[in-house]
């Protein structure tokens, strides 16, 4: 036991002496944090809904690249061959390597939380203990996969190839890099067969303000444990001390065994209807946050017709994002658009004229639908988002007379959680879905921008 503890501590110490390990273990996570911070700006504050993904990527990197690279490199040098002469159990040394990597990744994730707060004021996890439990379960599952990679890889370059084979699908279609809600339904179902989906789900549940915590993540945690146990068993049965040692004969059945755990989890999730991503399942908490920012209570029973000029005058425009920025952009005009965009935006303007949500009887809901449409183009980062914002605001102004429009917009701004919101607008030629919270947030922003124009401010 003393030897294993010594090995664990020395592994940590050596990790912090290796420049390459520091770059991969800590600089790369910082790079991902900054990249996410600049790309995913749909939340206020930024990264609120991306931290689960970000942490999952950090764990994936440490577990599926960092640990196997270290193990294979040591095996190539003969270090593990020498360890084999020690009166130590294989399991003990494996556990020591995994725990060391767990601590290394934990420090990287804590650093990410700290930096996210410093740079973007992204809050810390709402359920810290739950987040730690979720983090541990994700680490366990991914470190198990890393152990398999370490046993399969004959040399360090092979670790990169095998790691990418796991990393890329999870990033692209597993809900880790690209948010699950923006992916087509069939991909959302496919993602249920990849561990990354459960990792993000468990981490998000404990991270988001007002999130359900571990209570709603039991299935995700169980899935991660099943995947981790299968991977650890397979990895330890395939263990190789020596780079000259061939893979054991039973290696392929053990790999199948580990992957069968992924399939089993996916099938159970599918059978129990857990793989769809309904709008209801989107994160809700920031709705309450928006409500707190509003001067009027959400539960106001007031009709839009009762909005007074004083209420409209009380609305301030100081905190609005810039029109030429990345959040809720609105083009100054359509004149400078490239020809292809001009054609496309003209088509969208035409679609808007006959778009059913824009023909609602309830004027508030109609305006809210149009504002949401602008929000969808914005959050999904459509290349013509600013021009579409311009066209939509113009459409609203054409549809609703001036005095009524002031009241409707004031009403929408004051009741951000009222009515219903659109989280996808395929009828306007854009695929993908945004969260309800993002839709409400953007509709309020665009309403405020339009009100500013209507008032001539």
């Amino acid at each position: 036991m003393n030897g294993i503890l010594h090995h664990l501590l020395l592994t940590l110490r050596l990790n912090f002496r290796a420049r390459q390990a520091l770059v991969y273990g800590y600089l790369v996570p910082i790079f991902f944090l900054l990249a996410f911070g600049s790309v995913f700006h749909s939340s206020v504050p930024p990264l609120l809904h991306e931290m689960g993904q970000l942490v999952t990527i950090t764990i994936l990197g440490g577990a599926c690249f960092g640990m196997p690279t270290g193990m294979v490199s040591e095996r190539e040098r003969g270090v593990w061959r020498r360890y084999r002469l020690l009166p130590a159990s294989t399991a003990g040394l494996i556990v020591s390597a995994m725990v060391a990597r767990y601590i290394i990744i934990l420090l990287a994730v804590l650093m990410q939380f700290g930096l996210a707060w410093c740079l973007y004021r992204t809050p810390f996890p709402a359920h810290p203990l739950g987040e730690l439990v979720a983090f541990s379960a994700v680490c366990f599952a991914f470190l198990g996969m890393g152990l398999i990679i370490a046993m399969l890889a004959g040399a360090v370059p092979a670790v990169q190839a095998l790691g990418q084979a796991i990393f890329l699908p999870m990033i692209m279609i597993g809900g880790v890099g690209v948010p699950l809600r923006t992916l087509p339904p069939w991909v959302q179902h496919l993602a249920g067969f990849l561990p990354g989906r459960y990792a993000v789900e468990a981490l998000d549940a404990c991270y988001l303000p007002g999130g359900p915590g571990l209570e709603d993540s039991k299935f995700a945690l169980a899935a991660l444990l099943v995947i981790g146990i299968a991977a650890c068993i397979a990895g330890s049965r395939m263990f190789r001390w020596d780079s000259g040692q061939k893979l054991p004969r039973g290696a392929i059945p053990w790999i199948v065994f580990a992957l069968a755990a992924w399939a089993a989890v996916g099938l159970v999730a599918e059978r129990t209807g857990r793989l769809a991503v309904p709008i209801d399942a989107q994160p809700r908490p920031p709705v309450a946050a928006i409500a707190r920012q509003s001067p009027t209570a959400i539960a106001s029973a007031k009709r839009w017709q009762d909005v007074t000029p004083a209420e409209t005058a009380a609305i301030t425009f100081d905190d609005l994002p810039r029109d030429d920025g990345t959040i809720a952009p609105v083009s100054r005009s359509l004149d400078d658009l490239p020809a292809a965009s001009k054609t496309r935006v003209a088509g969208i303007r035409h679609l808007l004229d006959n778009w059913p949500p824009a023909r609602q009887g309830d004027v508030v809901q109609r305006v809210r639908n149009l504002l949401c449409a602008a929000g969808v183009f914005d959050v999904l980062e459509d290349p013509d988002e600013g021009a579409v914002g311009y066209v939509i605001l113009d459409t609203i102004r054409r549809q609703v007379p001036g005095e009524d429009l002031e009241k409707v917009l004031t009403y929408i701004i004051e009741t951000p959680a009222g009515g219903t919101v659109l989280t996808s607008v395929p009828g306007l030629g854009i695929q993908g879905q945004i969260t309800e919270e993002a839709a409400r947030e953007r509709s309020v922003m665009y309403a405020t921008k339009l009100l500013k124009r209507v008032l001539g401010k």
């Binding site: 030897g3 040098r77 270090v79």
Partner: protein, 309 residues
Amino acid sequence: MHPPESSLAVRDLVKTYGSIRAVDSVSFVIAPGEIFGLLGPNGAGKTSLVECALGLRLPDSGSVRVAGIDARADPDEIKRRVGAVLQSIALQDAITPREALELFGAFYPRPIPAIRLLERFMLVDKADARFETLSGGQRQRLALALAFVNDPSLLFLDEPTSGLDPQVRRELHDAIRQCRAEGRSVLLTTHYIEEAEALCDRIAILHRGRIAAAGTPGELIARSASHTRLIVRAAQPPDPASLARLPGVIAAAQTGGAVSLETRESGPVIIELAGYLARTGNELLDLQVRKPSLEDVFIELTGAAGEPS
């Protein structure tokens, strides 16, 4: 039962890789305080034999006992009792000798303190240097120090001086001799014939997985089919055919400016040679007597020349 005094008893050990029998029914015993050499050309099966004895490879059949303990039945106890320096072993670039010794020592109940090993193997100055900065000799001394960390009664040294310069090799030879003085047994594999002859109490010559011959260096030489050679130089080059007719001479041949005579007993032939030269009015300029060496035995048994030490 094996005699209690045997440090290592290998019996009928067999290890095959596909159709190749790397170790073929090998048996030998090493006594306490004995340095036992396994001498053989590359590919003779030395490393496979050592790795089977250490439990790093599973033999197909046969038994290995260390101090009477069955290696298969209690491998951890064996690991606690033996030390080893294996081929192609390195440590992490950033680890220091002190850290390595402390790490390896932590796995044993009564390790030798790192500082004592650093002193013994002349590594005190490099105690806190990174492994990647150590010279080849320092790395090999560290490997030897690591083998001593559990105060072993039996050491496996698998070609420990391979690739080292003569000075470092001499230092390691001294360290290996000290093992014998301390009562430790050593199984030394080498392909340096002079190293085996200089260090080992007994030697087994391994050829194609089998022990071709075993014994003390003197016994092996005595059993050799090779003959003593007399290299004769005279003022007038003597006729080899005439010398071949001298009593006791088995064969004679011209070698450059000298004549080489093969004989079983050199003394009587030298007397006959002196008489012959006096009779023919010739003057003896130089006479060298070359006894059969371990290298001759090695070449006889394996058909391969050993590497010069």
